[in-house]
């Protein structure tokens, strides 16, 4: 582990909105920026605007815990997440920008016989899908991460773990800035402080957006607004099966290297890594009620820490400096919704729940393809909106880490 190098240049062109674009992407988070980049890079579509109502990457991109992995259960999920992970592995060179991608491995702990069975099954499924995966017994867990308490006396003892060595973390704001700069260099307009307040339609088709900075026409409007997707979709009368909840996280003071990997525990609702600078970054469970407020309940943090301190006794002596919340958009099967909406000119990318960051380059790639061709890329084809009426669900409740 090393200190973070000098902050890289963040500069991109700050554009004034034009009257119309070929593609308007709503949401300047990681997904929106990556989509814009791959539209320009892979499809030569550079007449693109990314609209952000606040500052760039200030939503969930700034609020997640930066964990990257691809060990999901189903082939459909493994396909998109593994595509993303492969892109992560060369992203720094691709963008010409430091993103501090660190493949330090990810452990998913199992605390009950059922979780052991599920974990072992998932390892087999991952291997079949070409995703690196291992099953570790408690002693092997302790070898990978010596600070985990593997004593059988715990309330939730560690009975084993899945391990994906290629998983890891990256520096979230550098990822956003890298995509922003690269997209901007290719001609994409990045427009901050531009909130979408409505949609313009003609003959049922979406032909543009109304914003706090005026009307902007578009051949295609592509939503990429995570927890606020349902608010936008409501404006065009589209009902999306999403529940928005606050999900909290926190950071500790800066510490010497103590935690070499990433540890996630579904049962006790904790996932934690040590960032490059030395702070522990910990995620909590989601608040049970629906909310668009980026602030969660304090008892969720207390419960999370009770579990975390039991699992990692040394953490008792760290201090919480800051907590925050993001809004996660959870779909009924804990899988994303990407593609057509049934409304001409409107595309959707949402439902990533607690796991959108890791997919950033992969979904940017596939969503760009979907927008450019007017039909889904094979990797996001299973994640249609109409699967909730056809019943072709991709049930990832078990692998989505935080129980939804």
């Amino acid at each position: 582990m090393s200190w973070v190098p000098e902050q890289p240049d963040r500069v991109w062109r700050s554009a004034e909105p034009k009257r119309r674009y070929q593609v308007v992407i709503v949401g300047g988070g990681g997904h929106g920026l990556a989509t814009a980049y791959y539209l320009a890079r892979n499809h030569g579509i550079t007449d693109v605007a990314v609209l952000e109502r606040g500052w760039l990457a200030g939503g969930n991109m700034a609020r997640n815990t930066t964990i990257i992995r691809s060990n999901y259960l189903w082939e459909a999920s493994a396909g998109i997440y593994e595509h993303a992970l492969k892109l992560w592995e060369s992203l720094e060179a691709e963008l010409g920008y430091p993103i501090l991608f660190s493949q330090r491995g990810v452990l998913n702990l199992a605390h009950s016989p059922q979780e052991v069975r599920d974990g072992m099954r998932r390892v087999q499924a991952n291997l079949l899908a070409g995703v690196d995966a291992q099953w570790l017994d408690p002693m092997e867990v302790a070898e990978v991460c010596p600070i985990v308490n593997v004593s059988p006396q715990l309330r939730y003892p560690v009975l084993g773990a899945t391990y994906q060595p290629r998983g890891g973390i990256a520096k979230h704001d550098y990822v956003a800035w890298g995509f922003a700069r690269a997209a901007s260099d290719l001609g994409v307009d990045i427009i901050e402080h531009c909130e979408v307040t409505g949609f313009d339609r003609r003959d049922g088709r979406v032909i543009g957006v109304r914003t706090t900075r005026g009307e902007i026409g578009a051949q295609t409007v592509a939503l990429s607004a995570a927890g606020h997707t349902s608010v936008l979709a409501d404006m065009v009368g589209l009902r999306v099966p999403l529940q928005s909840h606050a999900l909290q996280a926190l950071v500790s003071d800066l510490l010497l290297p103590v935690h070499p990997t990433v540890v996630m525990s579904n049962a006790v609702h904790v996932y934690v890594s040590q960032a490059h600078k030395g702070e522990l970054v910990m995620g909590a469970g989601i608040d049970a009620h629906n909310s668009y407020s980026q602030r969660g309940a304090v008892h969720v943090i207390e419960r999370q820490l009770a579990a975390a301190v039991e699992l990692f006794p040394v953490f008792a002596r760290a201090h919480v400096l800051r907590t925050w919340g993001g809004i996660v958009d959870v779909s009924p099967d804990a899988s994303p919704i990407v593609g057509l909406t049934g409304i001409e000119g409107l595309m959707i990318n949402c439902g990533w729940g607690t796991g959108g960051f890791k997919a950033t380059p992969g979904i940017g790639w596939c969503y760009a393809h979907t927008i450019a061709h007017g039909q889904p890329h094979p990797l996001n084809a299973p994640f249609t909106l109409d699967r909730f009426t056809t019943g072709a669900l991709v049930d990832e409740h078990g692998a989505a880490a935080v129980a939804h």
Binding site: D253, H299, V314, A316
Partner: protein, 557 residues
């Protein structure tokens, strides 16, 4: 045998009641923390728990503020900061409050305002809890050593007022010491480091800490706030240096200088950036505050007796030194608050106490949703009505957090707020109509005086000019001025919150307590506009009001 603690393997003598920082300072140790980025040395700075520069590992628990921790014989203090190898269970092991019952009124802060509020509410028959982070009541103004000797109270102003309030509190109020409120829920539930307290009404009297403007060298060991110098002296009986410069703005510099001089150290000079003649422009402001005028004259006489020069329109604009401060640049200021060309003089010293007024401690007020405003001194303050009621029903505020104004005003506001809270809680009115009318009159006069004081002792307009590119603005995250400027000029930030997200000032241990005012001011100036409420509030709003040990948080209160 003298009592001792161990610091990094070396024994350090301690006096009863001294803080760890006080004991280290007395032993000539000026720094005990290494910053993570520049590997710079830090020690005492604010001296009262706001800045987190003085962190040490104490008895195995890292991240303890040496300025607050009382040095107990046998304590082991280490400059290392890590989790591995620490021997303690990682909890602060403080006992809970005397009972978990619900109170009519909970008062947070046991300084002048809080003591007055608690005593007044209790006299009205309310069940009152007085919660305070320190071991002793009194706040910063009446800060004492744990075991004070006979006659030591002579060094304090208005000691009989304190003694009177304390005796009422001892008799009628549940005083919960050593309890920092880290989270406040509506309704009201106060989560403290000593357990949970519930109350129907809350009086916030959370006080203030020194406001410091950055300048080159302000992060050197030995450069401290006036409050730190005062706390070292009052709390630990330790002078801040041998050759001391006192600088900044405001009447607080006077007692600080007099205190150091009386302790036998050489006060090289008091450099006041403002100009007390400014009061003359507001003759109405000193009507009815004869005590304030007498107090200032007594301090001036004390300085003159000891031949300590008092220079107005002068400022310390840079500090120098290797391991610690060894000298400062003092400059004369013109009417516009800019350095007069050719007026800079080098002054040799081994300690600097510098501050420009105070910053109110607003995290709990903001957490509970109280409306705030930009106050007469340019800082943030809680908006209150005539009885100290805030915009949130059931929440009252008193003292410095309603606008910095000094201890006398704080006591008056505390009495008004305590009375209002007790009445709202259904207790009998502790004050007669005449007493209330008299309190309101006094409050008006003292507030007018405070406004005149802020005008006369405003931070000099030219301070940003003193900064160099590499001068730190945020001491915790080690953010230099150049990064703040780049966030606005290169990256397009137009408010202090965005500057925080782009350049990270205010993201470290102190969560913007120290750099908030400066960063908000710098942002506004770089954007060519005045400071807005939101610029200041973004550095005063904290999800938790104190950094909490994970071990403590893991045991729900």
């Amino acid at each position: 045998m003298a009592d001792e603690i161990v610091f990094d393997g070396r024994t350090v003598p301690v006096l009863p009641g001294q803080t760890v920082a006080g004991a280290l300072w007395e032993a000539g140790i000026r720094s005990w923390r290494t910053t993570p980025v520049a590997r710079a040395q830090r020690g005492l700075f604010c001296g009262i728990g706001a800045c987190f520069d003085c962190l040490a590992t104490i008895d195995g628990v890292p991240g303890q503020r040496a300025c607050l921790a009382i040095a107990r014989p046998g304590m082991v203090v280490s400059s290392r900061h890590d989790l591995v190898g620490a021997a303690s269970p990682g909890t602060s092991a403080t006992p809970g409050p005397p009972s978990a019952a619900r109170y009519d009124v909970a008062v947070v802060g046991a300084g002048p305002a809080g003591l007055a509020a608690a005593a007044t509410a209790a006299l009205g028959g309310s069940r009152v809890a007085l919660i305070d982070g320190a071991g002793q009541p009194g706040g910063q103004f009446w800060r004492q050593r744990e075991s004070m000797g006979e006659g030591e109270e002579r060094g304090y102003r208005d000691w009989p007022v304190f003694a009177g309030l304390r005796s009422i509190v001892e008799e009628r109020v549940d005083h919960i010491p050593n309890a920092t409120v880290w989270f406040a829920e509506p309704g009201f539930v106060l989560h403290t480091t000593a357990g949970r307290v519930e109350a129907g009404r809350v009086v916030l009297a959370t006080g203030a800490y020194d406001r410091v403007l950055p300048f080159p060298g302000w992060d050197l060991p030995g450069v401290v706030t006036p409050g730190a110098a005062q706390a070292l002296l009052k709390g630990s009986g330790v002078a801040v240096g041998r050759d001391v410069v006192v600088a900044g703005a405001g009447p607080f510099l006077l007692p600080v200088a007099v205190g150091q001089a009386a302790a036998g150290v050489r006060v090289i000079g008091v450099y006041e950036a403002g100009d007390p003649r400014g009061y003359l422009g507001r003759p109405g402001s000193i009507v009815g505050v004869a005590g304030k005028v007498r107090e200032a004259m007594a301090y001036a006489a004390a300085l003159a007796r000891r031949r300590v020069p008092y220079r107005v329109r002068h400022a310390v604009i840079a500090a120098y030194g290797e391991a610690g401060v060894s000298g400062v640049d003092v400059a004369r200021l013109d009417n516009a608050g800019q350095v007069v060309a050719g007026s800079v003089k080098r002054v040799t010293c081994d300690a600097v106490a510098i501050g420009y007024g105070f910053t109110a401690n607003l995290d709990l007020a903001l957490m509970l949703g109280c409306a705030t405003r930009v106050s007469a001194d340019g800082g943030l303050a809680v908006m209150v009505g005539g009885e100290g009621q805030t915009s949130v029903p059931g929440v009252y505020a008193a003292g410095e957090i309603t606008g910095v104004g000094g201890a006398t005003l704080s006591v008056v506001e505390g009495e008004l707020a305590g009375s209002a809270a007790a009445q709202a809680a259904g207790s009998s009115d502790p004050l007669s109509g005449r007493e209330l009318a008299s309190l309101r009159r006094r409050r008006r006069r003292l507030r007018a005086f405070a406004d005149a004081m802020h005008a006369a002792h405003a931070p000099p307009a030219g301070w940003p000019v003193w900064l160099e590119d590499q001068t730190l603005v945020c001491r915790c995250e080690e953010v230099p001025y150049a990064s703040i400027a780049a966030a606005v000029t290169d990256l397009g930030a137009s408010d202090a919150r965005t500057v925080k997200l782009l350049a990270r000032p205010g993201m470290g241990w102190c969560q913007g307590r120290v750099c908030g005012y400066a960063t908000a001011e710098l942002t506004a100036r770089l954007c060519d506009r005045d400071v807005r409420r939101d610029d200041l509030a973004t550095y005063a709003h904290r999800p938790f009001a104190a950094p909490m040990l994970l071990g403590d948080l893991s045991r729900p209160t």
